[in-house]
């Protein structure tokens, strides 16, 4: 009697857990399918090769997004050109030298935590003063790229550091036994071994930078012409979507098309990162 009562109560509680968890997962799935589906549904009609390469007209209601794609690529390119060397060096410091400089490493870690959590709009404020005014780059692709670099840096550092740390210690011991210098060990053994994770970190950082809007509004600006140098203002794809949706009456349709392009771009980039990270950490880690 008692046993069956217990079993049935047990069964009920487990069923609650399974039903709640399962419906939560399904709910998340449905919402995201709805969002992505709507972008596809509304965006596909305006999407064409001419749309991707031609210049926008009537504030984006007509024409395409050619110059905007170029500006986006330039902004993201500049940000990665800064993030990767600086981030890799920082990650090497955090994974290789914390014992030599324990205090510096601890403070740096705290700073990276705060930087990672700093709202992008605040980093945008900083960029609009420091890069645009103090360094005199003005409202430009360069200012926008450098601002995004500040934003993507903590993400890249964390993933790259995690990658460097997972390189087995006996790799280093073998390198030491072969009289390889520290630099040689890093360049020829540790970094190549961590390369998949570093690559995934790069992909995540590119995705984060390409997705950013707030930090760009007042650093790289709104100008939707083809940029001729990196001191020109250039409109990023995400800023274009925002502007079409909020400030341009009747811009919804084009906003969906641009959103679809951005979504596909970010999906592909993140898919690469997810596949790599899942293969490296997902199954091996458990």
């Amino acid at each position: 009697m008692r046993a069956t009562a217990l079993t049935s109560r047990r069964f009920k509680k487990d069923a609650v857990l399974a039903v709640f968890g399962g419906s939560a997962l399904v709910c998340i799935g449905v919402v995201f399918v709805a969002i992505v589906g709507e972008m596809l549904w509304q965006g596909l009609t305006s999407l064409s090769w001419t749309y991707l390469v031609s210049a926008p007209s009537e504030s984006g209601r007509g024409g395409g997004i050619g110059p905007i794609i170029v500006s986006t690529a330039a902004i993201v390119g500049i940000s990665m050109a800064v993030t990767v060397p600086l981030g890799l060096a920082t990650a090497i410091f955090l994974s290789e030298l914390p014992r030599q400089h324990p205090r510096l490493a601890r403070v740096l870690r705290q700073c990276i935590d705060v930087l990672a959590a700093t709202p992008s709009i605040v980093i945008g404020l900083f960029g609009s003063v420091f890069f645009a005014v103090t360094l005199g780059f003005g409202l430009s692709i360069l200012s926008g790229g450098l601002t995004l670099a500040c934003m993507a840096l903590p993400l890249f550092v964390r993933v790259a550091e995690a990658g460097l740390r997972t390189v087995p210690g006996n790799y280093r011991q073998a390198a030491r036994a072969l009289n390889l210098s520290w630099t040689g060990t890093l360049v020829h053994i540790v970094i190549p071994a961590a390369l998949p994770t570093i690559g995934a970190g790069l992909a995540l950082a590119i995705g984060r930078a390409a997705a950013e809007t707030a930090a760009l509004i007042f650093t790289s600006g709104y100008v939707d012409r083809m940029p001729s140098s990196w001191f020109d203002s250039g409109r990023a794809l995400s800023v274009h979507i925002y502007d079409l949706a909020m400030n341009v009456p009747g811009g919804d349709q084009r906003a969906f098309a641009a959103a679809l392009v951005l979504l596909l771009l970010v999906f592909i980039i993140n898919l690469v990162a997810a596949a790599t990270l899942t293969r490296l950490f997902g199954q091996a880690g458990k």
Binding site: A18, G21, L104, C111, A210, A259, N270
Partner: protein, 294 residues
Amino acid sequence: MSTISLSNKASSPSRRDGVLRGAVTTAAVAGIALLAGIIFFVVQESLPALTEIGVFRFASDASWHPLEGAFNMAPMLVGTCLVTVGAVALALPLALGAVVFGRFYLPPRARAWVRGAIIVLAGIPSVVFGLWGLVTLVPLIAAWQPPGASLLSASIVLAIMITPTVALLSDSALEHFPREQVMAARALGLSNWAIWFHVMLPARKHALATAAVLATLRALGETMAVLMVAGNVPALPTSLSDPVRTLTANIALEMAYAVDTHRAALFVSGLVLLVLVMALVLTLGGKSKTVAAA
């Protein structure tokens, strides 16, 4: 390879090691300098407002009408807090439910697939959520409780946006939970319910709390998704269907035309955000690295 470096006297291994050590240490110092620079510039640009207007008027002025010299920031601070709390309250149970389901009921292969999908979803640009909210969700809510663009819509859109991140963070918090403990609990005849609430949750409560704080940080700092669906009226909301303006949206909306004291007051908005973020990060006490990648 070592023979190459030995034969090349100009850059002996030890010298190159010294150069590299110097370079990476410089990068480390640069990382710290970056945060110091952000704080310095935001404070410096806020100072005119803090000295001219004074700290108290940011809470005691009648309203936020910067062009007429009224600088009450309290509605925006309240708006930020309410939207954040609403989003986290919606996202946390949803994400945790999904994670627990994945842990107990999905085969490892399916779980890896779901995790991969969620990493991809976590990267969806916030402006896409904003667009979806603006075109789909706001009209839906407007049909029920006008005007639609409201505290409720902002919380929902933000919750949808942070749910994948919260799920990844809480999943990482449960990563490497000793399998022996789960097996021992099962051998004792414990149900999944009991294993979750009495074995796993108590053991990982700090890591899960960290995940919740990181989720809060993410929601707190979001601009676009909120800006596009919150209605942006700088007044205290009295119900869920009232429009709100957050501190982040305030900056994005007015920075383009703000000058002098008004501009400085917007930097004060940024400073308030920065202080909130630093206070929350300090409560983590350096534990966020346990849930690094997400």
